[in-house]
C-alpha cells in the first residue's frame, strides 16, 4: 500500500467520522488529512495558508471530494485542481450523497476520476470505502510527478 496521503474533503462531522471508521474498518493505514471546506482543500493542494511550506509536488494518493461544501463547493475545487499545472493529474473521487444526474454530468465533465454515492446502509458504505481504498491505493498506478 502506497504511503500517500488521503485528502478527505468533508464538511459534515458525522460523515467525516463514519468515513474514518470505514477506512479504519478496512485497515487503511495511510495518513488522512481532512479539509472541512473547499478553501481548506485548495490550501492543502496548493500548499498555502495553513499548509504553507508543504511541497506542492507531494500530491495525495487520492482526494475524496464531497460536493456540497461551505465557501467553495466541490465542483469549484475540482475545477481549480484541474486548472493548476502541478495538480492537474491528481486522482479525485467524488464521494457524495446525491446521485443527481446534473452532478454526475458536471463532475465527470470537470475531470473527476470516479463518482461514488455514499450508501445510507453503513455496511454498504464500509464495503464501498474498502473497495475505493483497494483500488486507489493498491491497484491504481499514481500519475508521474510533474
Amino acid at each position: 500500500m502506497t504511503r500517500g496521503v488521503i485528502l478527505l474533503v468533508e464538511d459534515n462531522p458525522d460523515d467525516e467520522l463514519l468515513t474514518l471508521e470505514a477506512l479504519e474498518a478496512n485497515s487503511v493505514g495511510n495518513q488522512i488529512v481532512v479539509a472541512r471546506n473547499g478553501v481548506e482543500a485548495l490550501d492543502y493542494m496548493f500548499a498555502r495558508g495553513e499548509y504553507e511550506g508543504r511541497d506542492i509536488a507531494d500530491m495525495p494518493a487520492v482526494v475524496l471530494l464531497d460536493l456540497k461544501l461551505p465557501k467553495l463547493d466541490g465542483l469549484e475545487v475540482l475545477k481549480q485542481i484541474r486548472a493548476n499545472e502541478v495538480t492537474r493529474l491528481q486522482p479525485i473521487v467524488i464521494l457524495t450523497s446525491s446521485n443527481e444526474e446534473e452532478d454526475r454530468v458536471k463532475g465527470y465533465s470537470l475531470g473527476a476520476n470516479s463518482y461514488v454515492r455514499k450508501p445510507v446502509d453503513f455496511d454498504d458504505f464500509v464495503q464501498a470505502v474498502g473497495r475505493l481504498g483497494l483500488y486507489w491505493l493498491l491497484i491504481n498506478e499514481a500519475p508521474p510527478k510533474i
Binding site: K68, K118, F122, F125
Partner: protein, 818 residues
C-alpha cells in the same frame, strides 16, 4: 398622269398627297382668280370710266362712294386706291376695325416710287398685276399682328386708250391661307406654301415670312432641304420625294391666265406626311383613300368632258377612256365601305356596289335621287339644312368626327354608321364624296366592352374594401375613390375627399413620407400600416397596399387599397397583453420550478446525511458495543437502521417522481420486449435468482417512447408483479399489447395477490398502499411514478384485478394513434 398602281398602301398615300397638293393649288388659284374678277369689276365701274375721261372732282367723289360700298361688302380687302398716271393717290379707302374709311384729300400720298405703282404703270389694257405676297408695312415697321397681303393692280385707260392711272386693291390673303390650311386640318399631315425664293409663306411655325426680316439668319426651304430644292424649283411641275423628315409631294405653279406679266413668279405647294405617319401608316382608312382617288379621277374626267374635251379626244381614243372608267368602277366597287358621290344639290351622282348591298336599293333607284333617302326618317327634315351649311363651308371630315349617326335602308330599317365627307370642286361645281361605314358590328363590340366596363365598375363600387387612385408627385391628390373609401374617411362625396391633400389623412405625416419612399424604391408596398384620420377627425389604423402605375407619356399615378385594421389592432393588443400575462405566469412557473429543483437537489444531498449517521452509528454501536447491549437493545438499534434505510428509499423514490415531472420526453423506437427481459433479470438477480417465476413477453414488442422513462415505468410494474406473486405457486408474468379501438394498449399481467377493485381509484396516488408493509413492503410511490411516466407520453393507465386472482395494468403511450 392618272396612272396609278393602287396595289400598295404607300402608293395610295402618295396618290392622296398628290390629290391634296393639286386641290390646294386649285383652291389657291381660284382665290387669286376671284381677286382678278373683283378688280376687273371695279375697273368697269361707271365712276372710274367717268374719272378717266374727265378727272372731275365729281367723278372722284363718285369713285370714293363706289369704293366705300365695295369695301363694305368685301371685308377681306384691306385697302383700295385709285392712283393717277404719276402714281399719286386720288382716292383711298382703308378698311379698319369700324369699316371702310375714305381718306381725305390732304392725307393722300405720292406712291410713285413704289414697285407696284411702277409695274402697274406699264400694264396693257385688261391685264392684271399681282404682287408677290408679303406682310403689310406701316411707317417702315411690319404691322402687328402680321398681315399677309397680296396687291392686285389694274391700269386705267380713257376711251381713247390713253393711260390715266391705276386701281390698287390690297387683299388680306390670310382668308385664302386658312382655306388651304383647312385641307389638312384633321390629320397629321401639313401643307406648306413657298414663294419663288423658297421662303415659307405657309409652313412650320416661326419659319414663315423669314424674308421680311432683314435681321438674323433667314431660314428658307432651300437652306433646310438643299437636296430637295433643285427638283422642286426646276424639276417637273409636280412630284414626290422622301427624306428623313417624311414624304413630300409638291406642285409648282404660276399665274398663267391671271397675271401674264407675273409669269416668272411661281409658288410651290408641298404636302408633308411626317415619317412616323408615313411608315407606320396605322390602319389606313383604305376606303377614305380610295374615295380621294375617285374624287381625283372625277375631277380629271370632269375636265376631260368640259374644258378640253376635243383636245383630249384627239390624244386618247374613246376605248382607252372606257377602259380607264372600267378600272375606276372596279376599284370603287371593291371598296369595303359604301361610297356615295353627290352634287351640290344633294343629287346622287355615283354609288358603288357596297351601297346597293347595304341599303337594298337598285342602282337605278339611287342615281339622280336625293341623298336624303339614305337618311333616317326622323333626321331627314334637318338633313337638307345640314347639307346646305356644309356646301357653304366644305371641308374634309374624317370618319368618326361627328356624333352617332344612322342610315336608313330601303325597307325602312336603320343601322349605325360613320360617315366621312370630302369635298371636291370642278368647274365651280361642288361634289361631295361620302364614305358610309356600317358600324353595327363595332357598336356591338363596344356594347360588350361597355358591359364589361360596367361590371368592373360595379365590382369596384360595391367591394367592401377601400379602393382609390392617387396622383403621384409632391402633392398627392386622390383622383378617384370608391364609395367604401369615401365612407371610410367620412366624406360626403368624392369631390370633398379629393379636395383634401392626401397628407392630411395621415395622423403622422412622416408615415406618408415613408410610404412614398417605399413606393419610389420598390414600386409596390404591401400592407403598410399607418394611423389615419377621417375628415371628421376620427383616427383609425389602416393597412395600405399600393402600386405605382406608369402611363405611356411618362406620367405616373398610384393605385391603392386601404383596410381599416383598428379592430385587428385592438385584438392584437389584447393578445399582446394576454401574452404578457402569460409570460409573467411562465416566469413565475419557471421560478417555482427552479426553487423546486433547488429543493430536490438539497433533499438529495442533505436529507440523506442524517440518515447515514443514524444507520452508521447504530451499526457502529452494534459492532463495537455488542457486549453491553442486550437482545432488546440490539433489536431497537436494528429498527433504527431499518427506519433510516426505508426513509432513504422513500427519498429516492420521491426524487424520482419529481424528476420525471421535469423531464423532457424524447420519442424513440424502443425494443420493449428486450427491455422487459433485462429488467426482469435484474430484479431476479437482486432478489432471489432461485425463485421460479415464468415470464411471457409477446414477440416484436416495439414502441415509440422515451426509453429512460419507459425503463422507470416497466421497472416499477415488473417489480410489483414480481413482488405480488411472491406467495403464489407457478407465478406467471405476461407482458404484451392489444389493439383496442385502433389504440395500442400495453399490459403487464400477473397471477399474484391482486387487489380489491373497490380501492382501485387510490391505486395511483403517492404513498397509497393496498397491502400491509410486512406482507409486501414498498413505499407506495411506484405506481404514482408509472402514472406520471404514462401521462408524460400523453397516454392513460388503468388496472383490472381481483383479490387473490392477480392484477393486470394497462397503459397507452400516446393520445391517439391511427
Amino acid at each position: 398622269m392618272v396612272y396609278v398602281d393602287v396595289s400598295s398602301r404607300k402608293d395610295l398615300v402618295a396618290l392622296s398627297e398628290q390629290h391634296t397638293v393639286q386641290y390646294a393649288e386649285k383652291t389657291f388659284l381660284d382665290g387669286l382668280h376671284k381677286r382678278s374678277e373683283d378688280i376687273k369689276y371695279l375697273g368697269q365701274q361707271r365712276s372710274i370710266r367717268e374719272w378717266a375721261n374727265t378727272l372731275s372732282t365729281e367723278s372722284i367723289r363718285a369713285v370714293g362712294t363706289d369704293f366705300v360700298a365695295f369695301i363694305k361688302n368685301y371685308s377681306q380687302y384691306d385697302q383700295l386706291r385709285l392712283l393717277d398716271v404719276n402714281g399719286r393717290e386720288v382716292v383711298r379707302v382703308d378698311n379698319n376695325a369700324n369699316g371702310p374709311v375714305l381718306i381725305p384729300g390732304n392725307k393722300l400720298q405720292d406712291k410713285s416710287g413704289r414697285y407696284y405703282a411702277e409695274t402697274v404703270a406699264r400694264l396693257s389694257p385688261g391685264d392684271i398685276y399681282m404682287s408677290p405676297i408679303d406682310l403689310n408695312v406701316e411707317y417702315g415697321e411690319i404691322e402687328q399682328p402680321i398681315k399677309p397681303v397680296l396687291r392686285v393692280g389694274l391700269a386705267i385707260f380713257d376711251s381713247n386708250g390713253k393711260r390715266m392711272g391705276a386701281i390698287i386693291l390690297n387683299y388680306l390673303i390670310e382668308d385664302l391661307f386658312s382655306r388651304i390650311k383647312n385641307i389638312h386640318a384633321n390629320n397629321d399631315r401639313e401643307l406648306w406654301l413657298l414663294n419663288s425664293e423658297g421662303y415659307w409663306l405657309l409652313g412650320p411655325e416661326k419659319l414663315e415670312w423669314q424674308f421680311m426680316y432683314s435681321d438674323g439668319e433667314m431660314v428658307s426651304f432651300p437652306a433646310k432641304y438643299p437636296d430637295l430644292w433643285p427638283y422642286f424649283r426646276a424639276g417637273s411641275k409636280s412630284g414626290m420625294a422622301n427624306n428623313d423628315d417624311g414624304f413630300f409631294s409638291y406642285q409648282r405653279f404660276g399665274l398663267e391666265g391671271i397675271d401674264e406679266g407675273g409669269k416668272a413668279r411661281t409658288w410651290i405647294l408641298i404636302s408633308i406626311v411626317p415619317k412616323p405617319v408615313y411608315f407606320g401608316f396605322i390602319a389606313p382608312n383604305i376606303g377614305e383613300l380610295i374615295a380621294i382617288y375617285i374624287v381625283f379621277v372625277l375631277l380629271l374626267s370632269g375636265s376631260v368632258f368640259s374644258l378640253s374635251f376635243k383636245d383630249r379626244l384627239r390624244k386618247q381614243s374613246e376605248s382607252q377612256l372606257r377602259e380607264r372608267e372600267r378600272q375606276y368602277r372596279n376599284l370603287l366597287d371593291s371598296a369595303p365601305d359604301a361610297i356615295v358621290i353627290v352634287d351640290e344639290s344633294g343629287e346622287i351622282q355615283l354609288v358603288n356596289d357596297e351601297v346597293i348591298t347595304r341599303f337594298g336599293y337598285d342602282r337605278e333607284e339611287l342615281l339622280g335621287a336625293n341623298v336624303d333617302i339614305l337618311v333616317p326618317d326622323n333626321t331627314r327634315s334637318h338633313h337638307a339644312a345640314l347639307r346646305d351649311s356644309y356646301t357653304r363651308a366644305p371641308s374634309v371630315r374624317p370618319m368618326g368626327a361627328s356624333r352617332a349617326l344612322f342610315a336608313r335602308r330601303k325597307d325602312g330599317s336603320e343601322f349605325p354608321v360613320e360617315i366621312s365627307l370630302s369635298p371636291s370642286h370642278n368647274n365651280g361645281e361642288l361634289y361631295v364624296t361620302s364614305i358610309i361605314r356600317d358600324v353595327t358590328e363595332r357598336k356591338k363590340r363596344e356594347e360588350v366592352y361597355l358591359q364589361e366596363q360596367e361590371r368592373y365598375k360595379h365590382l369596384v363600387t360595391h367591394i367592401p374594401i377601400s379602393v382609390f387612385r392617387l396622383s403621384s408627385g409632391p402633392q398627392n391628390k386622390i383622383q378617384d375613390a370608391n364609395p367604401t373609401m369615401i365612407n371610410l374617411f367620412q366624406a360626403d362625396s368624392l369631390a370633398t375627399l379629393a379636395a383634401v391633400p392626401f397628407s392630411q389623412l395621415f395622423a403622422q405625416k412622416e408615415d406618408l413620407v415613408s410610404l412614398m419612399n417605399h413606393l419610389a424604391a420598390k414600386g409596390l408596398v404591401n400592407g403598410y400600416e399607418a394611423e389615419m384620420v377621417t375628415l371628421s377627425g376620427e383616427k383609425f389604423f389602416s393597412s395600405i397596399t399600393a402600386i405605382v402605375m406608369r402611363e405611356g407619356d411618362g406620367g405616373m399615378y398610384i393605385n391603392s387599397i386601404i383596410e381599416n385594421i383598428s379592430a385587428r389592432r385592438t385584438q392584437e393588443e389584447e393578445i399582446n397583453n394576454l401574452n404578457q400575462v402569460l409570460l409573467g405566469r411562465q416566469q413565475e412557473l419557471e421560478n417555482l420550478n427552479r426553487e423546486l429543483e433547488a429543493f430536490s437537489y438539497s433533499v438529495s444531498h442533505d436529507l440523506r446525511a442524517p440518515l447515514r449517521a443514524m444507520d452508521g452509528f447504530s451499526q457502529s454501536l452494534l459492532r463495537n458495543y455488542a457486549d453491553v447491549l442486550d437482545e432488546q437493545g440490539v433489536d431497537r438499534l436494528s429498527r433504527i437502521r431499518a427506519g433510516a434505510q426505508r426513509m432513504a428509499q422513500l427519498i429516492d423514490d420521491l426524487l424520482m417522481l419529481s424528476r420525471i415531472s421535469r423531464y423532457d420526453v424524447k420519442s424513440e423506437e424502443v425494443d420493449m420486449g428486450k427491455m422487459v427481459h433485462e429488467i426482469f433479470d435484474d430484479i431476479k438477480s437482486q432478489d432471489n435468482p432461485q425463485r421460479d417465476v415464468t415470464m411471457h413477453v409477446m414477440d416484436n414488442l416495439y414502441v415509440k417512447a422515451d426509453s429512460h422513462l419507459l425503463h422507470v415505468a416497466l421497472t416499477n410494474l415488473l417489480s410489483n408483479a414480481y413482488k405480488f406473486t411472491g406467495h403464489t405457486e407457478n407465478a406467471e408474468i405476461t407482458v404484451g399489447v392489444m389493439l383496442e379501438k385502433s389504440e395500442c394498449v400495453y399490459y403487464v399481467k400477473d397471477n399474484g395477490a391482486g387487489f380489491n377493485m373497490d380501492y382501485a381509484e387510490k391505486l395511483f396516488g403517492a404513498f397509497q398502499r393496498l397491502h400491509d408493509t410486512h406482507e409486501f413492503p414498498g413505499t407506495g410511490i411506484g405506481l404514482a411514478t408509472v402514472q406520471r411516466v404514462v401521462h408524460k407520453h400523453g397516454g392513460r393507465i388503468w388496472a383490472d384485478a381481483e383479490e387473490g386472482q392477480g392484477a393486470t395494468f394497462y397503459f397507452t403511450l400516446c393520445r391517439s394513434v391511427e
